[in-house]
């Protein structure tokens, strides 16, 4: 479904990604794990068109999306939940959700998706008219995921959804991520520093170090891989 082929991305003269290749099939949860500054976020930003890779190609459903403008990429069915959640702080929860469906014209389905999002995260319904900036960290993460779902994406890009959240909330959010994948059939690309958590929900995983993919395997195998254990799982 998504094919990243040998992309190289730069910030000025500094190379952030070296020959990164990742393949994601429909219906999978794929995780990309690695340390801070390894290039995980840059990989996601390249998919969304915020960063344009200098060389290499990104295909989504057979269509080249590298070099396309971000709004075209969203239109093709990719939704991105960025690191740090990026809630519009002075817009209400409802307005944030509405904006998730910004490009959609099918108003009836948008309404259905709103109901769906509220069943996934009932807390958001209670906070509907509150400004986004006044929500707690966990609620903001729920809102960020919901806003992305409002685009009814074929594939969801999640950047560090566990960042800065209490373990209980993290578990709740990861359960929902699994449900979105299993019940709605949405393909998920999950970037996480919390490797243990990510590998437990994912089907396959990639390990990134200094802008390079160094390992790729089934998530279950990565969980017991000696190197991964030492470097990322703290065992």
């Amino acid at each position: 479904m998504l094919e990243i082929k040998n992309i190289n991305a730069f910030y000025g003269n500094i190379q952030a990604l070296h020959d990164v290749s990742i393949t994601i099939n429909e219906g999978e949860i794929i995780t990309l794990i690695g340390a801070n500054g390894a290039g995980k976020t840059t990989t996601l930003m390249s998919i969304s068109g915020i960063v344009t890779p200098r060389t290499g190609q990104i295909l989504f459903n057979g269509e080249t999306i590298s070099g396309m403008k971000p709004d075209k990429i969203v239109r093709s069915g990719l939704a991105h939940v960025p690191e740090g959640r990026h809630i519009f702080p002075y817009l209400t929860v409802m307005e944030n959700l509405d904006l998730g469906a910004y490009l959609r014209k099918d108003k009836d389905n948008v309404k259905k998706d709103l109901e769906h999002v509220f069943t996934l995260f009932p807390r958001l319904k209670e906070r509907m008219h509150q400004a986004g900036g006044t929500l707690s960290g966990g609620e903001q993460q729920m809102l960020a995921i919901s806003r992305a779902l409002m685009a009814r994406p074929k594939m969801l890009l999640l950047d560090e959804p566990s960042l800065g959240l209490a373990p209980l909330i993290v578990k709740q959010i990861f359960d929902i991520i699994k449900r979105i994948n299993e019940e709605d059939g949405t393909t998920i690309f999950l970037v996480e520093q919390n490797a243990n958590l990510a590998l437990k929900v994912a089907h396959r995983g990639y390990v990134m170090e200094n802008g390079r993919i160094t390992l790729e395997d089934d998530a279950k195998k990565l969980l017991v891989n000696e190197e991964v254990k030492k470097a990322y799982l703290g065992i």
Partner: protein, 300 residues
């Protein structure tokens, strides 16, 4: 008391015009964090366009109210085209440059447009026809609040209400607010940020042009330099109210209008600018972000 009221309504009128211009500064700043110094020139171009249209229509003997409306519409369209083009030429290529570069580019654009009008027209003050009609029902109070002032205040109020509704309820308005708050996220949900920026310049220019036409037909003369002075005042108003904030720009403009009006009336017209800028300094000392501005803190 009559004198006080006269000054009050005079200040309200002045403030309304400042508000129309200040909105352009504040909206553009809110979205691209740029002080568009060429904005005053857009206002001036609006007034000149209206003058040309009005002269032609007067020649054909069209009725004054129709001239006012047609001249306003043409001025709004023409100035919007200017605002749109200025952004594309002078600011868009510098979108990712250090913040000083577009600022210098803006000043350059302002000087260019002033001199362009100076050469294309003249450096003298040109008489502008008084297009705003005298209403009979205003006659008893016309010594404190003239028909022209009423038209300016009411038009401004209508424009503000429409702008507020637009920003609050339309898709483009929501996209503008989203872009102002978080540009990266706006891109990620599929907002065409370039289009939003263009729209912001067009709306700001339209309001400025409207202000230009109204004030020119009230005062009765224009020249190429009016944009600079009005621009500086409106910019002051925007900063006073908190740059980036729409209600702030309106509030700042009204306060500035009243300050100038009362200073002129009770002290001396020589002191109008002294009081206006002294007020600015005072407010910025106690509220650096402006009256309704948001201090730069963010919950992370």
């Amino acid at each position: 008391m009559d004198y006080f009221l006269e000054l009050f309504f005079g200040g309200l009128t002045r403030g309304s015009i400042y508000a129309l211009i200040a909105l352009g500064y504040t909206m553009v700043y809110g979205i691209v964090q740029l002080i568009n110094f060429a904005h005053g020139e857009i206002y001036m171009i609006g007034a000149f366009t209206a003058l040309i249209v009005a002269s032609v229509l007067t020649f054909y003997g069209v009725n004054t109210v129709a001239i006012l409306i047609l001249a306003s519409i043409v001025a709004v369209i023409y100035s919007s085209a200017y605002g749109f083009t200025v952004e594309k030429i002078a600011y868009k290529p510098l979108r990712n440059a250090p913040r000083l570069s577009p600022l210098i580019s803006a000043i350059g654009m302002s000087i260019f447009l002033q001199n362009y009008v100076l050469l294309a027209q003249t450096s003298d003050f040109l008489p502008f026809p008084r297009l705003i009609p005298q209403f009979h029902f205003m006659e008893p109070v016309s010594h404190i609040f003239s028909s022209a002032e009423l038209v300016i205040v009411v038009t401004t109020m209508v424009a503000m209400v429409l702008l507020t509704l637009f920003i609050k309820f339309t898709n483009l308005g929501k996209a503008m607010r989203a872009t102002a708050q978080d540009k990266t996220m706006a891109l990620l949900i599929g907002i065409d940020v370039d289009r939003v920026i263009s729209a912001t310049f067009i709306i700001g220019s339209s309001l400025a042009a409207l202000g230009g036409v109204l004030i020119a037909s009230h005062i009765g003369q224009i020249n190429f330099y009016i944009g600079f002075i009005a621009g500086i005042k409106a910019f002051t108003a925007a900063v006073l109210g908190g740059i980036g904030s729409i209600p702030g720009a309106v509030l700042g403009a009204l306060i500035l209008g009243w300050t100038e009006s009362f200073a002129t009336g009770y002290v001396s017209s020589d002191y109008e600018d002294v009081f206006a800028f002294a007020l600015l300094v005072l407010i910025l000392i106690f509220r650096p972000a402006g009256l309704l501005g948001k201090a730069e803190t963010k919950k992370v």
